[in-house]
């Protein structure tokens, strides 16, 4: 019964979310719904609050006002709620944040074994399948420091997927990469989007947005300035700030 209702409700509901860092008002009332299977791209100038917002979804940042409901669970101070949401929400960081003391395969199997309590052989089998999926099964026994940036980011995606999340959050996943490695990471993300994963992506890769995004949100100054389908945003932006920003990042 509740399952049915959950299917119709948005999987992420954010209502008037505010966040302050000291006196700095980083998020000034963000409202956003993300449906199951949707790919949402958030873009905007640095300091616009886009990373802060995506990090409130799995509570790496705590919001101080408003409401965030992920998969029917409201984010509150209840630690069990937070851990439940984090289990179902994978995150990929700009700096990869792989665990340097563990092999690639151990990076992927650590959380399934310790958080989901899977048996090691099971976790390793799924880990190897995920490494196949991101295209680097031969690196399983290496350490993160021995891989290129693009390979590390693909391992990070596999690590997040190993928990079998319902939502994937990407916080500027290609910003720290050398240009020739960006494509290999985007290809993995495109494949993931096409498989029906719900994704929230903070990125400036407009080709990616045009190709797979269902909706785009332009953030500036802690507010959503404009939102719409990629076609609307690219072909007919309404706000001057959006036009200016797009012209700046699309120029080169």
């Amino acid at each position: 019964m509740t399952e049915l209702m959950d299917d119709q409700k948005p999987i992420i509901i954010a209502r008037d979310v505010h966040k302050w860092f000291g006196d700095f008002h980083a998020l000034k009332g963000i409202t956003m719904d993300v449906q199951k299977g949707e790919v949402v791209v958030i873009f905007g100038p640095s300091g616009s609050g886009k990373s802060t917002f995506i990090r409130t979804i799995n509570r790496l940042e705590e919001h101080q006002q408003g409401q965030i409901i992920v998969d029917g669970i409201e984010l509150s101070h209840d630690v069990r709620n937070i851990e439940k949401i984090r289990m179902d929400t994978g995150m990929v960081f700009q700096q990869f944040n792989l665990f340097p003391h563990l092999s690639v395969l151990d990076n992927i199997t650590l959380a399934p074994i310790w958080v989901r309590k899977w048996k090691r052989p099971e976790a390793e089998e799924i880990g190897m399948q995920l490494l196949e999926r991101v295209g680097i099964p031969e690196q399983a026994q290496k350490y993160p420091g021995q891989l290129s940036g693009g390979q590390q980011q693909r391992v990070a995606i596999a690590r997040a997927l190993a928990m079998q999340p319902k939502i994937m959050l990407f916080d500027e996943p290609t910003s720290a990469l050398d240009p020739e490695m960006i494509k290999e990471v985007l290809d993995v993300m495109i494949e993931l989007a096409q498989s029906g994963m719900t994704m929230v992506v903070v990125t400036h890769e407009m080709g990616f947005a045009r190709g797979v995004a269902d909706r785009m949100y332009f953030f500036d100054g802690g507010l959503i300035v404009e939102s719409g389908s990629p076609e609307e945003i690219f072909n007919n932006p309404q706000e001057d700030r959006t036009k200016l920003f797009l012209s700046q990042i699309l120029k080169h």
Partner: protein, 403 residues
């Protein structure tokens, strides 16, 4: 088609040979030549005098006559077989670990084998070192070999060896102290223990207890609970602000005054507790440095995967932090090992005080301090060097500095 003339790139010259190097660096002008000659003469003279002192002038009697005193102090001679048994236990353990973890344990194994060799072939005739006893001591070399052989078996895993090492500490303490249970070994009170045995006991006991204690203090100092944080901070800062010798005095002389009458804590234990808490405070600060060096992104990534705070610390932050602080921690343990000599100030008969009491035992030893203290310094140097060498092996085997 005209081929472009490639500019010929000369191969850089070979590094200069030994003779050229010497000519260029040591004899390039008359001042350097003079300095080189003077220094070479000085060094040769120094080595010659040292060797001459060791082999002709020095009187090694206060060292050579008392190997057992230096080793175990006044431990009853009729129970020395227990010490022998402990040595054999470690022979087999070290042999097995040598095979399993070659690098670090190889250093320990070689040192241990050297120690057995020196004791078995001790260059003076001592009543207790009969031919039979010497043979028994040297047999431990064979036991190390047997251990090395067994260690090759797949059944001997690190998972089995680590608890075996911890168990060996308990077993050897029971063997040395005695127990009314099981085989009913006679009790040998610790005031009869001495020498290297006590030095090693204080050092190994201090290190193994202070390490987990120090790690907990370091974590406590970063705790989000104010009470725990304050307690740990006050503890660490208080201990670090006080000299070790005064902590030892506090524990051995003043503490008993506050304990209820009838309760007497062993002198050796009191010294051990003092050393342990002193070392724990320093270990805590080293570990805290390591914890601070782990980027916060590691914690965030682990949180995002749903790990609990305990898992984040135990599986992700602490392993990286400890790897980063192996050098300072080993340095800390080496100084703890040398600081065991301070326990002589509270009437614990460790290696240094055994040397002193031998010097005081006979008027004909007056003036032989050089020989006795030189010997003790050599023992400390060998063991300290072994530790720092082992630490370098440990660092490279754990890949410290790889990234």
């Amino acid at each position: 088609m005209a081929t472009l003339l490639e500019p010929e790139v000369m191969r850089p010259p070979e590094p200069p040979g030994f003779r050229t190097w010497i000519r260029k660096n040591l004899f390039n002008n008359w001042i350097n030549s003079l300095l080189t000659i003077v220094l070479v003469v000085f060094i040769c003279w120094g080595i010659y005098s040292l060797l001459r002192w060791i082999f002709t002038i020095a009187d090694w009697e206060p060292v050579l006559e008392y190997p057992i005193l230096y080793l175990v102090g006044q431990y009853p001679r009729e129970f020395l077989w227990r010490v022998g048994l402990v040595i054999s236990i470690y022979s087999i353990l070290i042999g097995m670990s040598w095979r399993k973890w070659s690098g670090i344990m190889g250093v320990l194994g070689l040192t241990f084998a050297g120690f057995i060799l020196v004791l078995g072939l001790w260059p003076a005739s001592i009543p207790i070192l009969t031919t039979a006893n010497r043979a028994l001591i040297l047999a431990n070399l064979g036991i190390i070999g047997v251990g090395y052989f067994i260690g090759g078996s797949k059944k001997i895993t690190p998972r089995l060896l680590l608890p075996a090492w911890l168990l060996s500490l308990v077993v050897s303490l029971l063997l040395l102290y005695g127990t009314p249970f099981l085989g009913a070994l006679d009790i040998v009170t610790t005031n009869l223990w001495g020498g290297l045995l006590v030095t090693l006991l204080l050092a190994i006991g201090g290190i193994t207890i202070s390490f987990p204690f120090g790690v907990m203090l370091a974590l406590g100092r970063r705790s989000s609970l104010p009470i725990i944080r304050v307690i740990c901070t006050v503890f660490i800062e208080t201990i670090r602000g006080v000299p070790l010798i005064s902590i030892l005095f506090l524990f051995s002389l003043i503490l008993p005054l506050f304990l209820p009458t009838g309760i007497r804590v062993d002198r050796l234990i009191r010294a051990l507790v003092g050393m342990t808490i002193f070392s724990a405070a320093y270990t805590a600060e080293n570990v805290r440095g390591g914890l601070a060096a782990v980027p916060y992104g590691q914690t965030e990534a682990a949180k995002a995967l749903g790990h609990s705070n305990f898992q984040i610390t135990a599986l992700i932050v602490l392993p990286q932090a400890l790897r980063a602080v192996i050098p300072p921690i080993v340095g800390q343990f080496i100084s703890l090992f040398k600081d065991t000599t301070l326990a002589s100030g509270v009437a614990v008969l460790e290696l240094l005080s055994v040397g002193r009491s031998i010097l005081n035992s006979d008027p004909q030893y007056i003036g032989l301090q050089m020989e006795v203290y030189g010997f003790i310094a050599l023992v400390f140097w060998i063991l300290s060097y072994m530790m720092s060498h082992a630490s370098r092996n440990l660092e490279s085997s754990l890949g410290v500095g790889e990234r």
